[in-house]
Symmetry: C2
Subunit: 245 residues, 2 copies
Amino acid sequence: MTTLRARQMPVLRGVEPCASCGARISSVCAAIDEKDLERLAVLAAPMQVPAGRSFITEGDPAEHFFTVTAGTAKLFKLLPDGRRQITGFASIGTFLGLAVSSSYAFSAEAVEDTQVCRFSRPRLRQFIDDFPAMERRLLDVASNELVAAQEQMLLLGRKTARERVASFLLARESCAVCGIPTSPEARIRLPMARTDIADYLGLTVETISRTMTRLRSEGLIDMLSPTEIVLRNRAALEGLAAGMS
Amino acid sequence: MTTLRARQMPVLRGVEPCASCGARISSVCAAIDEKDLERLAVLAAPMQVPAGRSFITEGDPAEHFFTVTAGTAKLFKLLPDGRRQITGFASIGTFLGLAVSSSYAFSAEAVEDTQVCRFSRPRLRQFIDDFPAMERRLLDVASNELVAAQEQMLLLGRKTARERVASFLLARESCAVCGIPTSPEARIRLPMARTDIADYLGLTVETISRTMTRLRSEGLIDMLSPTEIVLRNRAALEGLAAGMS
DNA sequence: CGTGCTTTTGAAAATCATCAAGTATAGTGG
DNA sequence: CCACTATACTTGATGATTTTCAAAAGCACG
């Protein structure tokens, strides 16, 4: 399989310079000063990824880094028989492609219409060498992801279905960049399908559906639509998520 | 809970300088030149951790980094009711404590008698700032761990008990630093207890035991003792581990 | 207003967990 | 050195959570 060909994925060079990038504050690019931003901008290739399209394929030669600047993507690994594990969702500010190996360790596909910035791996590497602040920022990013990964291992290895779903909803809520600031009664948007949630939580679609239905019937959440959730009883959900059921 | 007090954990300053450290090749310290090693050595506090003793406690203020120089430690997270997820085993060369947060995200406990090098967090941070090669190495380490974590998520979320155990044994085998170089019929040493394996694979002790017994009865492995395994049919195990059962 | 896909709901089945007990192993002290 | 205790590992029977299989209900889109 191939990664992003120009024909498939229009590169809008110059259309969205780093200086005006909405992802700048939260992303690794925040490490770069206003004045040096121009140097970064020439390396960045902004591109649109329509919902459902894959832009990183596990095993392909890792020629690029990516930064998500809008939308949501899912990162996943597959087993030969099709079983899938989503290892994370990438939204605005997420940096993708950290890997020492020469090939990607996971695939990435847009969950909804998404914008990413593509960087040539060797060129960005060179840029990083010139800006140690960037390297440091990358280490912070990687460290944070490592912590999140460990938390997810705890979820996958030891939490019940109920606890997993509660954890997921709370994580979505506090994911500030995903939407509106956290407030009681705030709506949580779930741009990903139930299947994706299932593959992220190590469960099946049916279990996700049943569990959410039950949480609703117990008054812990509201479902305005399959993709719009309201947390009605935050304390109870937090208890669940922490494993104090 | 407290982390490492001097009384509990003798600090053997100077006993094992970095220059002669067996972990040097594989660890982050490899990034440092012979000539600068002295500067690193003064920061390092080598210490013994007897089997069963904990030396990092989740939630405690993260005041130190650690490098494992001998033995094996388990890293884990706990749920309030005692459920445990081991997120990894640390052996010679493993760097511990990467986290942006001010408190540890996991606990660490020696599986067998273990030696670690302890570094004051702020001091090592300063050292790293002076040696960009070290920062780069840390990023590589973090990236590799991230890839491993994703692989483990796939295992925990989507693999069967058999597949998990097969994956584990193969991972132990190819863990070059853990023992003798890989060769057919080579013995795999499992210094950790069955409970630890269970908590690492998201299963129970009984399932681990049953699964290994079955692998043995099928001729895929040999068990010289509970802690000494021989892979008899590597191809079959690899098929299992890859999910092609 | 179909058509196709996602989500939900139901019933049966299966993997793995739990409970329980027996066996082996290691460490301790007489 | 050997019995004794504690711990770890193994094995068996039972049970439960979750999966699988199946189908209906909701929605979006042409």
